[in-house]
Subunit: 416 residues, 2 copies
């Protein structure tokens, strides 16, 4: 069963939501549970109600809208988030929510009934830009995060999640976990450059990379740059540069999807003619395979220790973050791929490099994601952009997969 | 002619001068032309006058003290400076001045007369810690720096050199360049670890390394550490780390006395999970041979450009400082070496990695330096230390070379 989606309606909604918290140069700022988030929630849930969906909000502020199915079955849930980072764009998260809404409205417009209920949802504080951790609402919803613990979290402005929920009236009465989806589908912009660079229309997301953040601190000895021979130095900066190069070498030797990033680097005393006494750097390693990620970590640490020892420096390290990889449901991933083929959309399997609400559903139900291209790979940036035809392709594929999973009730009363 | 020096007198003077501007944890602060410098000048010039030397101060505040010779010849000048950095030690500069004074007093004590006058001097603002450039007084004295231009220089506290000289009464009436030395000898602590590490007593300084400071700024593109494949990155930080490693490789491949130091390194936006958009680093290259120094610079720049190009980054660079190497007078260097042999002091030829007043004399008269060990190679630090026997060895050698150059008048009236 193929349905027509209304791209203009989708774009108009994306633009309307983007005007809430709009920033002067473009993009928008709707931090989780802020006044702007409240206005965005009101707008989107109003659209839900316009379609006479069953709308409810749970105790962590996740908002769910359900169109009943013809059978007493768990719902097929489409969703994402509508909060943004401080300098966010119009598409990150929003596409998954308004795309899901567009699927449901198009289904209604086409007079189609499904066996499973169709649901769309937006989850509280996916970004983590105001309250840590990120993916909070979906995590609580699926039991990965503790409700009371999350309600007590205090944001960058000193306000707790509980108080912020109360303040904007976003704390609902439904208990978490009340709704057990038959499957979860999330349409999202890639937030990276791969699809655009390849000219591929659809990313079939196979999982979320594991993430390992390590901070290395090197202690050497400050010395005069002119009077100290190379052989007598304990140069903390040289060790740091060596670790950075090793991180690169690991990514090169392991090959894709291994990535390695040295995002932070600081020297002390940071003076032109003084050999650095201290250096601190961070290494962000990601891989889809936990065993490979561990191998990358082990090689990095061994190399860092060897570099420090060779230079007569001391090395300390601490983990800043560590998440194991998440694999999406292979059956659902296959369905997305087959759907893309049926729609004649070019596609490639790929992992997600960033975290998403879908990974919180992966342990509890079949979950998967669809990516569409991000112009220049830019996201978390006011210049974030995905072209209308790419947005529409994503929603068409979302509809294709959702309807197949939800079971279209044929005119004869038979399921497709 | 061998004379006995009085080590206790030397040490007492070093300690007395060190009490002026003494810091709580040790060391001292006598910034050029400060109240502390004024007190130091009064103390040292008072010692000059106690010996009935001819003391005069020139218009840039250099203070000279002369013991007349038996012939109408230019003086043999020994000297250095008594100003310090903000967290200075007791020996840097001071040893050359009080060592020279000790030589003269010991000569007087021994009843020896010389053909050439013997002079000791301290020069204004060698450190450059309050007023840039450094080596100001000696530079003006020897015509390398313009008097009026230097008088107009404004220090870190907003006071000009001219006003600071007036304020502490250090502006003399003697014109610069009035005194043309027959030779200039400077005893100094090494300020590096070489002599101590080798167990060598004396450094016969052959010249001062050329210095090349370059700041490299790399512009790449910020990108998500998770979603951006390695091949699609423009990582400014990786280029910076590569340049740092290349600087090291140059020092290794060229061998001593080539040194290379990356003292400053900064990334932007300096966030764990963002590929750096900008990186800035400095490279300090030094060598005694101008041609080699130029070759090192050329290799570094070529490598930096290649690294930036390979990463799709843009590179800009600017010179922060550039001084050609200075070679000391080979005859005088030989005399220092021979003097060390005669005194039974272990010695090695070495360049100076830091700048010194002696390099300002090198173009105008035979000039050379004697180094004594610095404990742990530390200088410009309150823990700067040189053991009494090393201080005494340096002064003995200074006396040996100075007397040979100045010509000792024998009892029979014959020159030695």
């Amino acid at each position: 069963m193929r349905i027509e989606i209304n791209t203009e309606r989708l774009l108009a909604r994306i633009e309307a939501l983007g005007r809430i918290g709009a920033l002067p140069g473009g993009g928008c700022k709707r931090l989780a549970l802020s006044a702007e988030d409240a206005a965005g929630r009101a707008l989107v849930s109003g659209w839900f109600r316009d379609l006479e969906l069953d709308v409810y909000t749970d105790v962590i502020g996740n908002c769910w809208a359900i169109r009943p199915g013809q059978k007493d079955l768990p719902p097929l849930v489409m969703g994402s988030h509508i909060d943004t980072v401080a300098t966010g764009g119009l598409y990150d998260g929003v596409l998954g929510v308004l795309g899901g809404l567009e699927v449901i409205e198009s289904v209604i417009d086409a007079g189609i009934e499904t066996d499973h209920p169709l649901a769309v949802a937006f989850f509280t504080n996916e970004e983590g830009a105001r309250f840590a951790p990120d993916m909070m609402g979906s995590g609580v919803s699926q039991g990965a995060l503790d409700l009371e613990e999350m309600l007590a979290k205090v944001g960058i402005d000193g306000v707790s999640v509980a108080d912020a929920l109360e303040e904007i009236g976003a704390r609902g009465r439904e208990p978490v976990g009340a709704l057990a989806p038959c499957a979860y589908l999330e349409l999202h912009i890639e937030q990276g450059p791969v699809l655009e660079a390849e000219g591929t229309e659809i990313g079939v997301v196979t999982g979320v990379q594991g993430i390992s953040w390590t901070e290395f601190a090197i202690a050497g000895r400050s010395a005069h740059a002119g009077t100290t021979p190379m052989a007598l130095r304990q140069d903390a900066g040289a060790v740091a540069a060596g670790i950075a190069m090793e991180a690169r070498a690991i990514a090169r030797d392991f090959g894709p999807p291994q990535v390695a990033t040295v995002g932070r680097m600081r020297f002390a005393p940071d003076i032109v003619n003084v050999v650095p006494e201290e250096a601190v750097l961070t290494v962000d390693l990601r891989h889809t395979d936990e065993a490979v990620l561990q191998a990358a970590e082990a090689r990095l640490v061994a190399a860092a220790e060897a570099l420090a020892e060779a230079e007569g420096c001391t090395l300390s390290r601490r983990s800043l973050a560590r998440f194991e990889p998440v694999s999406f449901d292979s059956g659902l991933v296959d369905e997305i791929e087959e759907g893309a083929k049926r729609l004649g959309l070019s596609h490639r399997r790929m992992p997600s490099g960033a975290g998403h609400d879908a990974q919180m559903f992966a342990p509890t139900c079949p979950a998967a994601m669809i990516f569409v291209p991000s112009q220049d790979g830019i996201s978390h940036n006011i210049h974030e952009y995905t072209a209308p035809h790419d947005l529409a392709n994503g929603v068409r594929l979302l509809a294709e997969v959702a309807l197949a999973r939800a079971g279209v009730v044929q005119p004869e009363g038979q399921t497709a």
